[in-house]
């Protein structure tokens, strides 16, 4: 397993380099002079020169990239164009909300998707099967932030079961965290869960026709055991391969759903940065998100190796 992880990590390096290069190139792609953004219209020549020197704009592009990358590896993503906030600090402060929202929605989509998928596979054409198919079709068409507004309207504004806005850090109050995260996580997770349910269902239906399922039944193992031990593990293999993609989608969705519930996560940080064209901030956010996506990919790769013996390096 250690070898698998090492292999995967090594394979990720080039991608990380390319992403970092593309992100860094943002400054170059920006029309006009970044100093204009910082200084505004009325700046003296001396101020310009100072800013250029501070940003290293007088040096060659590639050199600047290498220097930037060096600092980034050491955890220094620079400072915001507009205030003296260090990008790393700003991102680190916002990331827990976004990540916990994403994780909670991943959890919901897996738990709901898995159980509904298995139930649907065991009883084709039953109500649960139809619900999963219907849910997946609708889920693809519903903007999850709208679903979030509806949930908030019913369960927060009307019933007052959950707070309508805000995020409580887990460290501050685990229960408060749970109640602040529930509605946004449901808004995000439920539509994905229908998609996962459909994948689980089709994988499960295929696996249940396999010889080894019949052989296990012939060996006198109970139907439940055969389904949940022998069939499920094999049915999960194709599901896990698309899981990292689903997590990426959920992470993107979280950036928008945060807005519904006024959660101060990466989403609002990014929107503010975009409005001000705060390039270092955007670069930092993109890099951190890519690292998260890669960590997720690594996890699903490991998971894949765990459930599929054929995928392990000999």
């Amino acid at each position: 397993m250690g070898r698998l992880i090492a292999q995967r990590l090594l394979a990720m390096l080039p991608l990380l380099l390319i992403v970092s290069f593309l992100t860094f190139s943002l400054t170059a792609m920006l029309p006009g002079d970044p100093a204009d953004l910082i200084l505004g219209d009325r700046a003296t020549e001396a101020q310009y020169r100072m800013v250029h020197e501070r940003l290293g704009l007088d040096q060659p592009f590639l050199l600047r990239y290498v220097q930037w990358l060096q600092r980034a590896v050491l955890g220094d993503l620079g400072t915001s164009f507009f205030n003296s906030v260090r990008v790393m600090d700003a991102v680190a402060q916002r990331i827990p909300a976004t990540v916990s929202l994403t994780l909670a929605s991943v959890l919901i989509s897996i738990v709901v998707g898995l159980s509904a998928g298995v139930a649907a596979a065991l009883r084709p054409r039953s109500w649960i099967d139809r619900l999963a198919t219907f849910g997946a079709t609708i889920g693809q068409a519903i903007p999850n932030f709208w679903f979030g507004i509806l949930l908030a309207g019913v369960f927060a504004v009307n019933l007052r079961w959950f707070p309508a806005t805000g995020y409580t850090p887990f460290g501050q109050s685990p229960l408060g965290w749970l109640s602040s995260i529930t509605l946004p996580a449901l808004a995000l997770g439920l539509s994905t869960s229908a998609a996962i349910a459909r994948q689980v269902r089709s994988a499960m239906v295929g696996v249940l026709q396999q010889d080894y399922v019949r052989a296990a039944l012939a060996q006198g193992l109970s139907r439940r055991r055969v389904i949940f031990k022998h069939a499920l593990k094999n049915a999960l293999i194709p599901v896990v391969t698309v899981l990292s993609f689903q997590v990426t989608v959920l992470l993107g969705g979280a950036l928008i759903v945060e807005h519904v519930f006024a959660i101060n996560g990466i989403g609002s940080l990014a929107v503010a940065a975009v409005r001000q064209q705060d390039i270092p901030m955007i670069q930092g956010i993109v890099l951190v998100l890519v690292m998260i996506v890669m960590a997720v990919q690594l996890c699903t790769d490991i998971l894949y190796g765990l459930i599929n013996p054929k995928a392990r390096p000999a």
């Binding site: 693809q140 932030f145 080894y212 012939a218 060996q219 989608v249 990014a270 993109v286 459930i307 013996p309």
Partner: protein
């Protein structure tokens, strides 16, 4: 039975999806074009006195926080949605397709670098890519849609590239190049037409995604900018006034859902109809035929019978939904230590017989008659729970292909130990110990080490030994072996047969050996039942069967078998093929292929004294038939 080709979208189930979808989209287009004439109010006109009103006769969908008419804004939102979808999708196609075709055609470094950039873009959440591009371009509808266009161009790029890569190697493209056509000419004339079908499908997918993304970007405030009316900005207002005017969220949200749903559903129809011209085969109309009951000899009870099957009858549900009979009047018995061979061509019902005994036919079929007596107890009368106890403990089964009958996700040792723990109630260590002993017993060297192997790490012969070890783990009275050597290498077959013989001597179980190979049956069986079209046509001790076959079909099989004949050419074969279930003749099912068939064969034939042939005594088919 004539397959006829139908236009897919004209089928009722598709029309039910298409008509509403087309209506929704048509409404959208009409609203978008004629928004200025249709909307009752100016979508930007504020009226603060009548802000946040619920639906009324004056404002059908109420008003927003600035007193603007929601219906009018919704209608003008259609225009934004249409522009957004067209712009972003158009840009995505215009960027993605040419670049994809170019790098696919050119290959080399161009291809490598482009694909790495695409990978990098795909690894970031799409909305973040759009946010970054908007950071460079600035906010607003057209800029945001340009960003989305770049984002979704990756899908078109990959699509165009893969089509080009596939077509590049096609003969006609190569020959076009050989005759000196210029690369761009080859691309445009020969390859481009092949991109069209998947392109259309991808466009429908993209349109739906663009609509959702536009709404999302406008919602968080970096897409369409207020006061312009887009569904996303309307939802932004709705989110703010959630507690004061909950109704505000409904119109724009429902508009998005209806539009995206319609686009997606239409896309599905297009994909299906491009994918394949659906062929609908009309199922053969006719009676659900059930073989007439017939007075065959009863199975003579013997002292040491383990299994006695009497008059077994099985139906399965065919693809057409009709139930067809696959087994009829099936009777045989197997004694302790005896091996009965079930021999016949594929489709004769051998395998389903084994599964029927174990009650494992599955949801697609059912046993409709007969008895399955195991040690004097009718298994068909047992509860589901009791039957689970019988399986593994009293009856076990070895399947044809060991590489598929062992679970690929668990070690072979785990799969044997699991049975020992579950069925014999052993503890983990004891089960482990016995597992190794069993693996050793079936002749696998280094048993303890092998127990940790996964099925795909073993050869076919070794995997089959494992499957046999698992089947014998609870010392069953009856072992059903379903073509256990067919999937194996010829050199391994004999070893496995020897193993079966040794194990039977040691464990003393009765064995039902299903095979289509007469030589294998001759090798291992004591008696043989020959099956044809769902019934037994002859049962005899192995020597008698080979020496003097009494049924014309048996005789035909023997002379068609390379092992059975003395090898002198030409090898005779039986003309024709086994009638499929549902197509059985009413009388003797072999009559259509039988050289001896007469009028007497038109009625159902019973199995008398081990043979199902009315002319058996007079024709004496013998070996040389």
């Amino acid at each position: 039975m004539t397959p006829r080709k139908t236009r897919l979208w004209l089928q009722p189930s598709y029309l039910a999806v298409m008509v509403p979808s087309v209506l929704v989209l048509a409404t959208l287009v009409v609203c978008a074009i004629f928004a200025d004439w249709i909307s009752p109010y100016d979508p930007l006109k504020q009226d603060l006195i009548s802000a946040l009103q619920p639906p009324s006769a004056r404002h059908w969908l109420g008003t927003d926080d600035l007193g603007r008419d929601v219906l009018s804004r919704l209608i003008h939102g259609c225009r934004i949605a249409l522009i957004a979808a067209a712009e972003a999708t158009g840009i995505a196609v215009l960027i993605g397709v040419p670049i994809g075709m170019f790098v696919g055609f050119r290959g080399g470094w161009w291809d490598w670098i482009t694909m790495r950039i695409v990978e990098a873009m795909v690894s970031i959440p799409g909305i973040m890519v759009a946010i970054v591009i908007i950071a460079i371009l600035g906010t607003g509808l057209h800029r945001a849609m340009f960003a989305l266009g770049i984002l979704y161009s990756t899908a078109f790029l990959r699509l165009a590239r893969s089509v080009v890569l596939a077509e590049r190697e096609e003969v006609y493209v190569k020959s076009a190049r050989v005759i000196g056509a210029s690369p761009s000419r080859v691309l445009l004339r020969h390859i481009f037409p092949n991109i069209a079908p998947p392109l259309i499908v991808q466009i429908t997918l993209t349109v739906g995604a663009v609509l959702l993304a536009e709404a999302g970007l406008s919602f968080i405030g970096i897409g369409v900018q207020p006061p312009n009316a887009s569904w996303g900005t309307m939802l932004n207002t709705a989110a703010v006034f959630m507690d004061l005017a909950p109704f505000l969220a409904l119109p724009p949200g429902l508009a998005i859902v209806a539009t995206v749903l319609s686009v997606n559903l239409l896309g599905d129809v297009i994909r299906d109809s491009i994918g394949r011209g659906i062929r609908t085969a009309t199922p053969p109309r006719g009676r659900v035929q059930r073989a007439a009951t017939v007075a065959s000899d009863p199975v003579m009870p013997r002292e040491d019978d383990v299994l006695r099957v009497e008059g077994l009858e099985v139906f399965v549900t065919a693809k057409t939904g009709e139930e067809v009979q696959v087994l009829s009047d099936l009777s045989f018995s197997i004694a302790r230590g005896e091996t009965l061979g079930l021999v016949g061509e594929s489709g004769s019902g051998k395998t389903i017989t084994g599964l029927a005994i174990m009650d494992l036919i599955g949801a697609g079929g059912r046993v409709t008659g007969g008895k399955v007596m195991l040690d004097g107890i009718d298994l068909r009368g047992l509860s589901r729970r009791r039957m689970i106890e019988v399986r593994g403990n009293d009856v076990a089964m070895v399947f044809q292909d060991p590489t598929t009958s062992l679970n690929p996700a668990y070690t072979v040792g785990n799969q044997i130990a699991e049975v020992l723990r579950r069925k014999k109630g052993l503890g983990t260590t004891e089960a482990q110990k016995q597992t190794v002993e069993l693996i050793d017993r079936v002749g696998i060297p280094g048993a303890a080490e092998r127990a940790k192997a996964y099925p795909h790490e073993l050869s076919g012969g070794m995997a089959q030994r494992i499957a046999i070890a698992r089947a014998l783990s609870c010392n069953p009275k009856l072992l059903i072996a379903d073509e256990p050597t067919t999937a194996l290498d010829v050199t391994v077959q004999q070893e496995i047969l020897d193993l079966f013989r040794d194990l039977q001597e040691e464990f003393g179980m009765a064995m039902l050996f299903v095979t289509h190979d007469l030589a294998v049956a001759a090798d291992i069986c004591d008696r043989i039942s020959v099956m044809y079209a769902g019934e037994i046509v002859e049962t005899a001790p192995v020597n008698a069967l080979f020496a003097t076959p009494r049924h014309p079909y048996t005789a035909g099989l023997l002379s068609a078998s390379p092992h059975g004949s003395d090898g002198t050419p030409p090898l005779p074969t039986i003309p024709g093929s086994v009638p499929t279930p549902g197509q059985w003749p009413e009388g003797c099912r072999f009559s259509a292929r039988c050289p001896y068939a007469t009028a007497a064969c038109k009625v159902r034939v019973p199995l008398i004294q081990g043979v199902r042939c009315v002319r058996s005594d007079e024709i004496r088919p013998g070996r040389a038939a």
